[in-house]
């Protein structure tokens, strides 16, 4: 959480810092197991398929596009920082790379399951860039 009360990610954790660094550079990266090649998301310290320990070199760029699996529209703010955001969407995306990804889809009131989306990198503070998405026209 930030000093101004917003819900912000911990971008300093060694496990996930490479993700946030890449987001600032407008790239989507995920861990790829050096042993079996499996992509793991959310980030983990080892590969749950072959149990090989992860390293920082596991982070590799993946296509930042996908398809909407489902979405919810929040009409109640469950945190004070969201009072002026409601109603807002939370969208579950099937990335083209495989993993499922929780996000917001920006600049639309026209969400639908199976719509194609691509990343929209939102610089919410100088340190934090959130990977949001937008509809592909």
């Amino acid at each position: 959480m930030s000093n101004d009360g917003r819900l912000l990610p911990d971008v300093s954790s060694p496990l996930t810092a490479p993700f946030w660094q890449a987001a600032r550079e407008r790239r989507l990266v995920m861990q790829h197991c050096a042993g079996c090649g499996e992509i793991r998301w959310p980030p983990k310290s080892l590969c749950p398929t072959c149990l090989r320990a992860g390293t920082v070199d596991d982070w590799k760029q993946v296509p930042d596009s996908g398809t909407i699996w489902s979405f919810a529209v929040y009409h109640r703010a469950f945190h004070p920082s969201l009072n002026d955001k409601i109603p807002y969407n939370v969208v579950y995306i099937k990335l083209d790379a495989g993993p499922m990804f929780i996000t917001n889809v920006v600049r639309t009131n026209d969400l639908a399951i199976d719509r194609r989306v691509k990343a929209y990198y939102d610089d919410v503070t100088p340190e934090v860039t959130l990977v949001k998405f937008q509809l592909v026209p």
Partner: protein, 383 residues
């Protein structure tokens, strides 16, 4: 390796011989353990025994950490041969552990207890949906209702299920709750009222989501061959099954809980009971969405058929399959699903008055812990 499907044969091993439930709602100034022990006293009275007959204790830890067996033990004043605490809730997992302990001979008569004061303590469902907080909270993915709003929208997309069809869950359960003296919510609720109420997390409304309450519930479980030594009519455990799916959280369709079919397969395979034999069904329902999705997962409805089934009133008293005759978590009380099992026992004993399912002989209870563990039990009036 493919998933093996073990089948537990527990038929004829254990019976529930005591049930106790406290007043539900608010218990200001009382600890979780005090409330749980009140429920246990009621269950002991119901069974016609005193606490000296208990040689096993299985307690349920509340989400905030109360209610472990070592907290209950000193207040209860017992030193049982077997004692454990589960933090999975719903009572299904606790009952299964009791059946295992009895079948193995580690204990013969076991008390299951859950007490909570979460309403008074202002515990909320509104925290981060996922333990990977940094990847969900910044998007406002708060409140465990969020994933189930998504699951229902997906169900709508796949099968054309409507909000009105879903609304019949809350409406039917309110009808039952109005016939249940234990219920917290008893105001009339029509489908028009439901549809006119605002969204909380669309497509879910307030009536689709349980409200946290204080209360206690306890059951006494014993070996089937001792069951007739107790005062109450014994209700026998005919089948149990579980499935744990922590890794499934990364599956594309995990919010639909596809692994529940493993529980169903094991349950009917081992008990000798078929779903068509079930007279009353209980489904843990923190969200209304659990009802249609569980009806389909266990094969009571074909995929996509649960919406029409609900709209036709098939889950009401007199319908094909009465569901949650207590009013469920949506209208009776939250209690992490423990009251469903208490109601199932009372229905099979024929104690439910206005809401009694006629000639109920077999009941089934289905529950899940979060989105990573499922359990089900079949109970019957004969061993």
């Amino acid at each position: 390796m493919s998933t093996s499907s073990p089948s537990a044969n527990v038929r004829g091993k254990a019976a529930i011989v005591g049930v106790g439930t406290t007043r539900q709602g608010e218990h200001p100034g009382r600890s979780a353990e005090e409330i749980g022990i009140e429920a246990l006293q009621l269950a002991l009275d119901n069974a016609g025994i005193d606490k000296s007959k208990i040689d096993g204790l299985i307690t349920c830890r509340t989400a905030e950490g109360y209610g472990i067996d070592t907290a209950y033990g000193p207040l209860l004043g017992i030193d049982p041969a077997f004692s454990a605490t589960l933090d999975y809730g719903t009572c299904n997992f606790s009952l299964h552990l009791a059946v295992m302990a009895i079948a193995s001979g580690m204990a013969s008569t076991i008390a299951l207890i859950y007490g909570c004061n979460q309403r008074t303590n202002r515990v909320r469902f509104t925290g981060s949906v996922d333990r990977n907080r940094s990847f969900v909270e910044p998007y406002g993915y708060l409140h465990i209702g969020g994933p189930f709003a998504m699951a229902f929208r997906r169900h709508q997309h796949l099968y054309g299920t409507t909000e009105e069809q879903l609304g019949h869950v809350a409406v039917v359960q309110r009808e039952y709750a109005r016939m249940n003296p234990l219920s917290v919510f008893r105001d009339p609720l029509s489908i028009e009222d439901y549809l006119a109420s605002p969204y909380l997390i669309a497509p879910l409304r307030r009536h689709d989501i349980t409200m946290i309450s204080d209360g206690g519930a306890a059951l006494i479980v014993t070996a089937a061959d001792r069951a007739k030594d107790f005062r109450a009519r014994p209700i026998y455990v005919l089948g149990v099954a579980e499935h744990a799916a922590p890794r499934a959280s990364e599956l594309e369709d995990n919010l639909m809980r596809p692994w529940l079919k493993n529980v169903a397969e094991r349950l009917y395979g081992s008990s000798g009971i078929d779903r068509k034999d079930v007279n009353a069904l209980y489904i843990q329902d923190p969200f209304s969405v659990y009802i249609p999705m569980t009806l389909e997962a266990y094969g009571f409805c074909a995929p996509g058929e649960s919406g029409p089934f609900l709209q036709q009133g098939q889950t009401r008293l007199g319908g094909k399959l009465p569901v949650n005759t207590n009013g469920g978590q949506l209208s009776e009380a939250y209690m992490w699903g423990w009251l469903h099992l208490c109601e199932a026992v009372r229905q099979l004993r024929g104690e439910c008055g206005q809401r009694q399912v006629k000639d109920a002989k077999i009941a089934q209870y289905c529950s899940t812990m979060a989105i990573m563990r499922g359990a089900a039990t079949i109970l019957g009036v004969e061993p």
